[in-house]
Structure formats: structure tokens, C-alpha cells
């Protein structure tokens, strides 16, 4: 041992004792974690919060959220709302700016195989933002604007100020524009086909008011969809009116028919009839129904003539004159597995009653996903009830509480993404982003034009759990090793954050001042934080503003305003709008200080609103936005595109994988990736109290029929391996009669948890469905995601069980 007297300034004795150590060697011991005493009574605070799953009042104690009290006007409070404390204070929380170790050392030339292996170190905000700014500038200067891809953000913090999508766009546009995405993962196929058919996307449009349906619909068909799950969330803050209306529908004895391979929670809770076709065969079944209607002379020819074009070109296909195959119920049965008699009965029922054809989005998240809703609209046209109270179709009611009557309320603006520069790179179809990363320079078709993939060198992920959302994990893991730099803004250590080079910690909704509205505009809600941003997290807007500042565009980004100032300005613009509409609102100070939601009246005319009634009343004065101004059963625009995978009229096209395909011999189970009940996609998967409600041996549950389980020696509660040639996951078997034989349900949104991080082919220990799904575009038209098109095989897992590692740390052995 060296003589401390001769070698060092300090002596051993000077270290001795708690106080001496802290005083003498402060640089080694760092600042004390002890300070002066606080007030004796615990500091309590309350704030209002809104999430995509509920509005609530949060109670905080000593700087921690301890309780969530649901909004008094929420008619169907769910456990995601009441578990908000667990959402905020999760061990999965990202506390500090983090940089991948290799990236910090070697910069953009680092070994990217390190991504996903958990090699991170903490840095300051200054350092992290400087790294982002330096790399953004470098990449744009070296490779051009089209070398940066801003991954799309949709869901995340709910609010007008801290809207991640707008904040990302704002940064992108000020930097000259990054490559951005077109479309979304929820409705990618329908939102591209419907403008050709109806002149608008339809999926996010205002729908017939629920009271009209309650009073007039005799039959409501749910063709796909699970509204008792999907209506638990919405993109304006939910008060869950849609669930209330569904329960009322049941109470009134309306005939409910669910067409779904699963007897979903909705069927179970609402009752009604269950028809279970094979997955991805809905178009064939609809054609069987349409054939019956035509054959029985039940087609409304007048409606077709007055309001549609192209039925005459569709009819030969339906009747088999153009392809030699009449689309009889027997033919349909051979494809979809539903008995011909059931198909005939269904046709008879919906043709002879005021019928509302609801449809979910799941059936279009499939190969050739453009077809089902086009065919649904065609079917509705044949019935001739579009625009009548309680009749027609809707592709919206099962989401975001559409159909809830709107209030007369001032409009509250939100953060603007700014104007996209004319020189900005062309966007790409959102679901093709992995194909883009892997195949720069490749040209694909998209909705009548060509899209050439740029060579992406930098990803800017301003909020999205891409590594759970994107199909075919193996491709995504490979693709995310290609860029030179990946930035992720996140609250939690999601699988996506784990793949980043630079991670910025973002505050939850409980920590941000903001403003939002309810789904029906009835309430304007102040979002008052009850706790400070946790650790070193920043609210979304502040985080982007910080980065913008390092880029030298801080002033342009903020326009001199803090988040709170933007909030006040948005409110004041709503006040001005209210004045124009004759609706009074309190001053911002009064609104904010009171911290209570403002309520606005729902007018009678809103209660009785019927979609397409104006078009039905006067198709010449109220034409649709299609080339013909009518509903296009045959689209000349699509005909001109000449696509071999999307004809000019709705048609049955075999999907890449289904129970009738050759591949089913090796992988005989069709996997559905439905929306989960206790999550918003992947959000909330990290909340342990919620996982306890649904996981099986810590794994994502997979529904498997009693027959299929028995054939494989699988019992309820077993851990199973689900696999195909794209990968394998573990899941917890839920053996049930609530699913058609040959079909399994593994809900989307489970966090990817590779047993071998970084290995694209790794087994996923938790059960992320997108390990197994197929990454192809739905067709040349929409290039949409096909998450419900995949075949798998299942076996009981008998190996050593790997722990689920993606969420949080091990708990005590209590």
C-alpha cells in the first residue's frame, strides 16, 4: 500500500466518519442525498389528467401519483384509468437522457449490432441534444433531406400542446422536411380505397348519431370488430358513450349479429348471434350474401341507379358471368366455412329489416384489405338503406366513440406542425418503412403512382413503439441496424427505445400542462399536472424545443412561447371561436385556476344526424367527392391503375396466407392479432397491475379452441410456443370454445422481448404477435399493413422457461 502521506493530499484518517467523508472527499462521494427537513405533513396535490383511455383526477402525495379518480361523466370507467399511478411510476420509466455506449464512444460509425442489447449510459440533456443536432445536420449535409425518416406518431400524450406528431412535424419542417409516412396502421387499406368509392376516407368521418340507430335499426350487424374492447379508447379524451349506447342497444332488444372468427368480448357481453367465418374470407361471405339478395330480387335497383355507378360491371362478376364462378352461398361456404343456409338467412334478414352494417378495421388489416369494406359498401348499396335513419353501413362506430352526438362547442386548436416545405422528400406508405430501410432505391406502386425508397441514414422517432407495431420482427431488427443514428423520445423502456442510439426521457400526461376535449366536444378539459416531470424527463414540446435550440432553430420552433403560453393561446383562440358561435367561456385564468372541465350543450339536431342523408336527399346538390359524384362500385380510376391485385370492383382475392392456402399444411392455424382489452396497442403493457388481469404465466394470452388444444396436448394455462418461418414467441394458452377451430387470437401490442437481444431470429419470451406476422403491403393500391394475415403452428413449450424481461425488474420474493 502506498504511503498516503507521501502520495496523496488526503490521509486515511481524514476520510473517517460519515461527516468527514462527505466533507473531505466531496468529489468522490458526490453530493449528499440528504437535505434539510420538509414540512411535517405530507405534501398533497391534485391535478386533472386525460388519456386515450379515460379522464381522471389524479391525487399526488409527496410528489407521487397515488390515486386516480375517474371523471364523473365517464359512463364506463376502465381499469387503465384507475391504474394511472402504475403507469406513471413504473420501473420501466426512462429517467434520464441515455445514449448507447458504442454510439457515445464512436459516434455514427459505431457498431450497430450493439443496438437492442441494453448498452446505455446516462448523459446530460445538453449532451444528448447536441448529439442529435450534430447528427441531424451531418446527415442532411452529407446525404440530403431524404436520409432522415421521421417515424409517425399517433397515439401518445393526449393534448393540444404536447402532441408528439405535430411537434415532430414542426421540427422536421423547420429543418427542410424529413421523409414522412402516409396513412396509418389502423385503417391503412380502407382509408385509401374509400376515397375512390365514397369520396372520403370514411373511417374518421362523422357517423350517424347513436340515438338514431337505437330508435330505427332493427338489425345491427358487426362484421368484424370488437367494440366492447375498442371503444375503451379514443383519440379525443373518452367518456365512453359508445359503450353506453351498445348496452342500450342490447337493452332494447335490437337483433345483433356478430360475424367474427372469435366469440369476442363484445359477443359475450352484448349477447346476440355469432357467425364465425374463416379469417380473411369476409369478402367471399359478403359476395354470398350479395348473390342471394340479387337472386331473390331483393336488390334496390332504384338506389343503385340514383346513387351509384358501376353495379352493371360488378354484377357479371357476382353472378359468375365474367369468371365462370357464380358467388353462390355454396361457393362462399367453400371459402369462408359458414354454412350456405346461414348466409342465405343473413341476406334475408338484412334485406327485409332496417339494417345497419357496422364493420371493424381488423378485416382490412389483411392482405387485399381494400376489398372487404368496398364490398360492404356495395352490399349496403344493394340494400338501398344508405342515408336512411338506422340503415346503411358504418366503418366508424366501433372506434373513438364515433356516432356520439356532437356538442355545439368552441373549437380548440392545437400545436401546428407547420408548413411542409415544397422541397421536402416524398412520403412513403407508413407500413412499408422496414421495406424502405432494407431496400433503398426500390420502387413500389402506391395508389396510382410510383414511390422510390430513399436511403435512410437517420431515424427520428418522436413517439411510437415501432418495434411492437411493425409486422415481422425479424425484418425490423435487421432494418434498425442499418441507420447511422436512431433517436427515440420515450417515457418507458419499450422495445423501440432499447433499439435506439439516443433516448430522450419524456414526461407522462400526469406531469404536463395541457388542454384537450372529450370525444363528442362536450367537454373542454384542463390538464393540470399534479406532479413535476419525473426525474429528468421533459414534456414533449419542451423536449423538441430543447433539441431545436441545439439546432439553432429554437426561436422559430417556439415562436417565443413556452408550452404554458401555447396552452393559453389555444384556449384564447377557443374563446374567440366561442364568441363567433355565441358560446360564452370563462377567462383562461378562471378556467385554469378552477381546474374543472367546461361543459357544452348537445343540440337536438346533433342527436338526429344521419350520415349520407343529405346525399340521399339531393345527390345532385350534395355529390360525393368521387369522380362521378356517386358511390363507385366500379372505379375507373382504379381500372386505369391496372393493378393485378386490386381490380376495379370489389372481389375475392386469396390472401397470401389463409386456411385455404398450401401453407396451411405446415402452419394450420390462422392467427388473429386483435386489439387488446387492457391496453392501447402497446401502451399500458408495462403496467404490472394490468398485466395481472390478463397474462398467463407472465405471457400474453393466446386463445386456442378446445379442439385444437386437445389435438396438441395443450391445457389451459400451459405456456406454448407459437411459430412459423418468420419467428417464434411464447404465450400463455387460453383454451376456449369462444374461437373457431383453426384460428388463434394473440392480441397485438405485446412488447417484444427477445431472449437473445439483437438476434433477429430470437424467441420472444413474452408473446409479441408481430414476431409472427407478415410484412407485405395489402396491395399495390394501399400498401397497408396486413397484421391479420398469418398462419402459425403451436406446440406446448417444454423447455426451460425464460423470464419475461422487457417490462421491469424482478419483484420481491414475498
Amino acid at each position: 500500500m502506498k504511503d498516503p502521506k507521501t502520495n496523496h493530499e488526503l490521509t486515511r484518517r481524514e476520510f473517517m466518519g460519515y461527516t468527514a467523508a462527505a466533507g473531505v472527499a466531496a468529489s468522490l462521494f458526490g453530493p449528499s442525498m440528504l437535505g434539510t427537513a420538509q414540512a411535517a405533513a405530507p405534501a398533497t396535490n391534485a391535478g386533472s389528467c386525460a388519456t386515450f383511455w379515460g379522464i381522471c383526477k389524479l391525487q399526488a402525495k409527496n410528489g407521487q401519483v397515488v390515486k386516480a379518480e375517474p371523471f364523473a361523466h365517464d359512463s364506463s370507467v376502465n381499469e387503465m384509468t384507475t391504474n394511472m399511478p402504475g403507469f406513471v411510476h413504473s420501473p420501466a420509466r426512462i429517467k434520464y437522457p441515455m445514449v448507447r455506449k458504442g454510439f457515445l464512444k464512436d459516434g455514427y460509425k459505431s457498431d450497430t449490432s450493439e443496438r437492442g442489447k441494453g448498452e446505455f449510459v446516462r448523459v446530460s440533456w445538453d449532451k444528448a441534444a447536441e448529439l442529435i443536432a450534430d447528427n441531424l445536420k451531418r446527415v442532411i449535409k452529407t446525404y440530403g433531406q431524404d436520409a432522415v425518416y421521421a417515424t409517425p406518431s399517433g397515439w401518445y400524450n393526449l393534448g393540444k400542446v404536447h402532441a408528439a406528431g405535430a411537434c415532430t412535424s414542426r421540427l422536421s419542417n423547420l429543418m427542410g422536411g424529413f421523409v414522412r409516412a402516409m396513412g396509418d396502421y389502423s385503417t391503412g387499406a380502407t382509408q385509401v380505397i374509400m376515397p375512390h368509392v365514397l369520396g372520403n376516407m370514411e373511417v374518421y368521418s362523422r357517423q350517424t348519431s347513436w340515438p338514431v340507430i337505437l330508435d330505427n335499426s332493427k338489425v345491427v350487424v358487426f362484421w368484424g370488430g370488437n367494440p366492447m374492447n375498442t371503444l375503451r379508447i379514443s383519440w379525443p379524451a373518452p367518456t365512453h358513450k359508445g359503450i353506453e349506447y351498445l348496452k342500450e342497444l342490447k337493452k332494447r332488444g335490437t337483433r345483433l349479429i356478430f360475424i367474427d372468427p372469435t366469440r369476442s368480448e363484445s359477443v359475450q357481453e352484448l349477447g346476440g348471434e355469432w357467425i364465425a367465418p374463416k379469417p380473411n374470407t369476409d369478402v367471399a361471405m359478403m359476395l354470398g350474401v350479395a348473390y342471394t339478395i340479387q337472386e331473390k330480387g331483393l336488390t334496390d335497383q332504384t338506389f343503385l341507379e340514383d346513387y351509384t355507378t358501376g353495379f352493371d360491371k360488378f354484377l357479371p362478376y357476382l353472378m359468375g358471368k365474367s369468371d365462370g364462378q357464380p358467388k353462390t352461398p355454396e361457393w362462399a361456404e367453400s371459402v369462408c366455412g359458414v354454412p350456405a343456409k346461414t348466409i342465405r338467412d343473413l341476406a334475408d334478414t338484412i334485406a327485409k329489416n332496417r339494417s345497419m352494417l357496422f364493420s371493424g378495421w381488423g378485416i382490412q388489416r389483411a392482405d387485399h384489405g381494400e376489398q372487404p369494406h368496398w364490398m360492404l359498401v356495395t352490399l349496403a348499396c344493394m340494400l338501398g338503406q344508405i342515408g336512411l335513419p338506422g340503415g346503411g353501413f358504418s366503418i366508424g362506430h366501433m372506434y373513438s366513440n364515433q356516432g356520439t352526438p356532437f356538442a355545439d362547442a368552441p373549437s380548440v386548436p392545437g400545436m401546428s406542425g407547420g408548413k411542409t416545405p415544397s422541397t421536402a422528400p416524398a412520403p412513403i406508405p407508413t407500413a412499408r418503412n422496414i421495406d424502405m430501410l432494407l431496400n433503398p432505391g426500390k420502387t413500389i406502386d402506391y395508389n396510382g403512382r410510383k414511390v422510390t425508397y430513399p436511403d435512410i441514414k437517420m431515424l427520428y422517432n418522436g413517439f411510437s413503439n415501432s418495434h411492437t407495431r411493425q409486422p415481422q420482427r425479424e425484418s425490423a431488427v435487421r432494418a434498425w441496424k442499418k441507420p447511422e443514428c436512431i433517436v427515440v423520445h420515450e417515457m418507458f423502456w419499450t422495445p423501440t427505445a432499447r433499439m435506439a442510439d439516443i433516448v430522450l426521457p419524456i414526461s407522462t400526461m400526469a406531469e404536463c400542462a395541457d388542454i384537450t376535449t372529450s370525444e363528442d366536444g362536450r367537454f373542454i378539459i384542463p390538464l393540470k399536472p399534479c406532479i413535476e416531470p419525473q426525474y429528468e424527463s421533459k414534456p414533449t414540446y419542451d423536449a423538441f424545443a430543447f433539441v431545436a435550440d441545439k439546432l439553432g432553430i429554437g426561436d422559430k420552433y417556439t415562436e417565443g412561447k413556452t408550452g404554458e403560453q401555447w396552452l393559453e393561446s389555444f384556449y384564447n383562440q377557443a374563446v374567440a371561436d366561442g364568441k363567433r358561435k355565441g358560446i360564452g367561456m370563462p377567462s383562461f385564468k378562471e378556467f385554469w385556476d378552477k381546474g374543472k372541465a367546461l361543459e357544452f350543450k348537445v343540440p337536438e339536431k346533433s342527436q338526429s344526424w344521419v350520415r349520407y342523408s343529405d346525399y340521399r336527399e339531393d345527390p345532385l346538390l350534395e355529390p360525393l367527392g368521387t369522380p362521378s359524384g356517386k358511390i363507385e362500385i366500379y372505379s375507373k380510376t382504379i381500372e386505369k391503375m391496372g393493378y393485378d391485385d386490386c381490380k376495379a370492383y370489389p372481389s375475392w382475392i386469396e390472401p397470401a396466407e389463409w386456411l385455404g392456402s398450401e401453407k396451411a399444411k405446415a402452419y394450420p392455424l390462422h392467427m388473429l392479432t386483435s386489439h387488446p382489452r387492457h391496453r392501447l396497442h402497446s401502451q399500458n403493457n408495462h403496467v404490472q397491475a394490468l398485466r395481472k388481469l390478463y397474462t398467463v404465466k407472465d405471457r400474453e394470452p393466446i386463445w386456442i379452441s378446445t379442439e385444437d388444444a386437445k389435438a396438441r396436448g395443450i391445457k389451459d394455462g400451459d405456456v406454448v410456443r407459437v411459430y412459423n418461418e418468420r419467428g417464434s414467441v411464447l404465450a400463455g394458452a387460453m383454451v376456449t370454445d369462444n374461437i373457431r377451430s383453426g384460428v388463434v387470437r394473440l392480441c397485438e401490442g405485446g412488447w417484444y422481448d427477445p431472449v437473445e437481444p439483437g438476434n433477429p431470429k430470437s424467441l420472444c419470451a413474452y408473446g409479441s404477435a408481430n414476431v409472427l406476422t407478415l410484412d407485405i403491403g395489402s396491395s399495390k393500391l394501399a400498401q397497408a399493413v396486413v397484421g391479420n394475415t398469418s398462419l402459425v403452428q403451436i406446440e406446448k413449450y417444454t423447455g426451460k422457461l425464460p423470464a419475461v424481461s422487457v417490462f421491469e425488474a424482478p419483484k420481491s420474493a414475498q
Binding site: 473517517m16 458526490g30 442525498m33 399511478p85 413504473s90 426451460k800
Partner: protein, 225 residues
Amino acid sequence: MTPNSPATRQMALRWISALFARELTADDVESYRSGDGETLLDTLQSELDCGEAVEPIRSRLNDSQPASDTALDLAGDFAWLFHGVGGPRSAPPHEHDWSEASDGTQMECIDQCLSLMGKCGLGPSPESGETVDHVGTQLELLGYLEEQAVADPNGPWNEYRDTLIREHLDKWLPLFLDACENNDRNGFYAAVAELAGRLLDGALSKASVRRLAANIGQQPTEEES
């Protein structure tokens, strides 16, 4: 080997609490190699009755890399264990993380710690950024209370110390240290945990010690199916 002197033990507690509270810098590593830090290590090694447990720490700090690279590696290990990067292979540094019923939301332990600290005339440092149930805070508080108990034998300090151990440290620290030992990938924080366990061996209850011993050798990454 003679029992630890109170001053040595207090200094060690303060040092360990700091190691669990924040990452080492390159300057820190340099210091441990040939500066005040080295003196500190020498002191602990010679004065503590479990001084041999310091050697693995010294060894890791004196690897063959430049100090900046060693600090970078250790920062990665720190993030893996204490910032949640390692998932269940990490070592959550808060008492509330280890409460099965809490899901991170049961703040009773924070209330209790605040109350106890308040009785001592203390509160959380505004700079720490951590809740008061953090391992660094609780270990530093333990060292403080032990020093106060020596300086003021008739005061309430031993009672407070016993409360801290009985109501808090006993319940979770063995598990935390065990997680450090099992999950640290490169050995430094495992060695710090080993030293902490040895230092507190007599302070924690026998039940905790038994639990600690039983947990050693577990592989949290795998369980029997």
C-alpha cells in the same frame, strides 16, 4: 480481524451509498487508480474487518483500459442495473420497486422514510432527484444515524436507526444486493453489493441474512418450467 470502528463503517456506508447513487466519471476512476480514491480504497481495505471485499472493486477499477473507457463501461453497467435498462436482470434501487403489492404505486414507504428523516431534522436533497426510498438515501441515512448515535449516545439515534433497518432495509436491501450480485454483467457493482452485504451483515436481521443467503445463486433469467 477487529470489528469495524464506527468511523470506518460510517465512511464506508457513505461511500457505498454514493456508488449506488450515481455513475463514476473518468476523473473518479483516475482518482481510484492513483489519487485520493486510491487512498480511500487503501483505507477501507486495511480498516474494515471485511476489507478483502474491497479488492474486487479495486481490481475492476484498475482494468487495462483508459479511465474514460472504464468509466463508460461502468456507466453502462449502472444504467443496466439502476436505470431499468436491464429489465428483470436489473436491480431497482428503490424500496417501492420491491413491494409486490405496490406496482410502483404504493408510496407508503416513501411517507415513512420522509417521516423518519423529518424526525432527524432531515429531508431529501433537492439535487438527488430520487425518492427518499432510494438505496443511496437509505444507506446514507444509516451512516448518518450511526454517527449521530456515537456523538450523542443519549439521543434517539439508535432508535431511529433500528426503525430504518427494521421497517425498511431489512425488507428489501438483501434482495437488492442479491440482484446486484446476480445481474451485474462485469462485476463492479456485484463487488460493491458484496461489500455492502458484508458490512451490514450484523445489522440486518437474521431473517434477512438467511433470505440473502438463500437468494445467492439464483438465476433470475431462467426458471424451471
